[in-house]
Amino acid sequence: MSDDAAAIKTIALRKAFGPLVAVDSLDLEVPRGQIFGLLGPNGSGKTTTIRMLCGLLRPTSGSAVVIGFDIRTESESLRCNIGYMSQKYGLYDDLTVYENVRFYATVYGLHGAVREARIAELLRERGLETRRDQFAGTLSGGWKQRLALATATAHRPQLLFLDEPTAGVDPASRRSFWDVIRKMAAAGTTVLVTTHYMDEAAGCDRLAILSRGRLIAVGTPGAITKQFDQPTIEDVFIELQRRDEGALA
């Protein structure tokens, strides 16, 4: 794997659920070490795309190589090198903060002193030390989000998938979450994130906009606003949605 190889490269990726085509002929290239935002209205295929890329869904056709692994044939190796955090967080309410991190760290193959050192580091970095023995079920939204990020990154993944990670958390938590994400990207982690918050979208290195399963725009936030001749990403987004609805009518 050379450094210039893309973190994600998909060719004609397609997923159909019966007659419904959720993602169609998707050609996407995500460079390494960037924060890449995937935007689109509800039902545009963002989540389906992420789920295919991290091996939760099998594509109907097309191919994708994620950090050097074919998602169809090398999903085992792929899973060891990616992190995934969804809106649901995937935490065990009856386990403490420490136990949740320990569980995922062990599943990712960390053992003994290495594991304990990594857990300590994660708890310190996410500011969870004082809540180490609190049950995950009793944490508030922002703290759950921190813990979910800690469990998803226990194995220092090269690529992190974030599916609407900030939905339902307060603005302060949102900001500190993004600070952490930017720090991780600066350290070389590639981040693929979906969001409905346009300020978050504007903060990404690159964006891709999906609409009804198809990729309709890709580029830096600046390039995209210029391309559509709109002042902000939010305006682009609304303009695109209007065109979509127009096309539909």
Partner: protein, 372 residues
Amino acid sequence: MSLRDSTFWPMLWKEFIEMRRDRVTLGMMVGLPALQLVVFGYAIRTEVRHLPTVVLDQSRSSESRALVSVMRNTGNFDITESVASRAEVEDRIVRGMAKAALIIPPDYMRDLKRGRTASAQMIVDAADALASAAALAGAAQAGQARTIEIVSARTNGVVPIEVRVRPWYNPSLRSSAYIVPGIIGILLAMTLIPITSMAVVRERERGTLEQLIVTPIGKTSLMLGKLMPFVLVAYVQMTVVIILGKLLFDIPIRGSVALLYAITLGYIVANLALGLFVSTVARSQMQAMQLGMMFLLPNVLLSGFMFPREAMPPIARWIGFALPLTYYLDVVRGVLLKGVGFHYLWRDTVILAAFASVTVTLAVRRFSKTVE
């Protein structure tokens, strides 16, 4: 990956922590066996004893009193009242005060003395079929016993025919001896299917199943780690029933407990697999619970747990063939009550193992598909 580093271990570790902290489920696991044992063990009585019985003795003789006393000695009748007329007999039965009435006519003693057949009448409230069957059996038994006494007095102790009944394995004919071992089977099905299916559905609802699938954890580790603790739960429940059954109902343990525990594994695995299967169908924990309970009724009614399958119509019997419990009952009763060995149980063992492999195959295939 070596066994030591297998992702199965963290799964198992996590599962035990969750189980320990889930007080409700834990209480259910230990409380349910005790509750079931008491409810089924004490309440289910297919043998009816001590029917309230009134006597209308119009003969008022030593012979009629002897008949009443023989009736009482069968234990099936409690003589509650001596009444004076047929109207009173009817009144007691209509009011439910008596389930049976013994009527001895005035010429009973005279007929006996003259060497004619003396007749007495037993009236039974047959609205309750079980009770009336007991009354009929008791009346026949008492009549026969008294006849033999009288005949053998005349012939110097020689009776033409005597059939001796020897009830093997359960000499006192207690239904608890029959019911309690079966409770082990009912209980395992009743707890394992809902609890495992709910546990898996909970992972799906909370999003942790999805989270696990993106980790390197294998499907085998995932399922084994998830289901293994329930094998332990099953054995704990089974042990509770056996110990309480011994203490409360004096259920014998005639055969090899080790053999019983070994064969039970096939039954446990089959039920766990059914639970896993239910989890792939149910959309919520509530549905999982209800679907799991769906298995309860056929298990209770058609497996031979409560009612002998010999008495069932063909359709009910065929359904019984499709229930693992049907075969497991043979095993658990065979080992505990009859003390039989593997030699007699190999067929049931093979069938249970076949059930286990078929259900596991189906459930695992379906589970794998739902998680892709």
